[in-house]
């Protein structure tokens, strides 16, 4: 640096250089319109709000599924002996008999109807 430069001269050099560069930057600047930035901010804030609401729901879903699975396993485990007995009984019964066929068909039909009804109700929601 030139040793003759005083602080005032240095300040003038720097101020001129930065002012010129700032003026160039202002000409170069092409920020998106305020309407677009506002709209994006709204969208993003809504997404974040939705995520914040859904996070506890996901946790509750996971807990419900885990509880359901645990319950199912415990029921299957405790009822295993009874189920085995029933299966043995089925092996001894004539399944083509109408006293067996009629209740079995009625049960199957009601399960099907209940499934379709549940689908129609929840699809509307």
């Amino acid at each position: 640096m030139n040793p003759l430069n005083t602080d005032a001269e240095i300040e003038a050099i720097v101020a001129d250089a930065i002012a010129a560069e700032a003026s160039t930057a202002r000409r170069e600047a092409a920020p998106p319109s305020s309407a677009i930035v506002w709209w994006r901010a709204q969208m993003r804030a809504r997404q974040e709000a939705t995520k914040a609401v859904e996070r506890p729901l996901t946790i509750v879903h996971a807990l419900a599924i885990a509880c359901g699975a645990g319950l199912l396993l415990s029921i299957v485990g405790s009822a295993f002996a009874d189920v085995k007995l029933s299966l043995d009984w089925f092996a001894t019964v004539d399944l083509t008999s109408r006293w067996i066929m009629l209740p079995m068909t009625a049960m199957l039909v009601s399960v099907l109807v209940a499934s379709v009804a549940a689908y129609v109700i929840f699809a509307d929601e």
Binding site: I10, A25, A29, V37, W38, V53
Partner: protein
């Protein structure tokens, strides 16, 4: 407490997607503030980061964070300083990410598209000189001489003590002047 069913929860979730969300300003106030400040902020971001693309990205992020800020602003100046503080922190964070292959000084020199004006070379010199400075020094000089901020405002934006700004500015000025004079 009232029971909330699964269907209620789904409805709340759907409402969150469509309802007006709480932001720190209303649309008209935000748009007026943005129109007054975005050009200057883009200039600050592009010169401090040395990268136009980074400036484009950080500009929108800075305004979004301002909108989400739960802060009561005493004045327009207070809001603008807060915006610059967010922008400064964003640039600082962006530097922690992986760097491009070329040097920062080169990025700064190449920041504008080449033109045929007579002063192109001197402007390139200024950019090169700024590119050789530390980001904090660039921010100090830009806030002082491009924005005309006071020492207290610079300290607020950069998270420094007001008393140290005078000395830091003095050093930064001498460094830039020396680099410019060396060419």
């Amino acid at each position: 407490m009232a029971d909330v069913t699964f269907l209620d929860a789904r409805r709340i979730s759907a409402d969150a997607e469509t309802a007006d969300v709480a932001l720190a300003m209303d649309e008209d106030a935000f748009r007026a503030f943005y129109d007054r400040t975005s050009g200057a902020l883009w200039g600050y971001l592009s010169r401090i980061s040395g990268d136009r693309q980074v400036a484009d990205d950080l500009l929108q992020e800075a305004y979004y964070r301002l909108l989400k800020a739960n802060t009561a602003f005493e004045s327009e100046n207070h809001r603008r300083n807060y915006l610059y503080r967010i922008a400064t922190n964003l640039v600082r964070d962006s530097r922690r990410r992986p760097k491009p292959l070329f040097a920062e000084a080169v990025e700064m020199a190449d920041i504008a598209a080449p033109d045929s004006h007579a002063d192109t070379e001197s402007r390139q010199d200024v950019r090169r000189a700024l590119g050789r400075m530390k980001p904090r020094e660039r921010a100090l000089l830009w806030l002082a001489y491009a924005n005309g901020s006071s020492h207290a405002e610079i300290a607020d934006v950069l998270g420094l003590k007001t008393a140290s700004i005078k000395l830091l500015l003095f050093r930064a000025r001498r460094k830039l002047a020396a680099t410019l004079q060396r060419g």
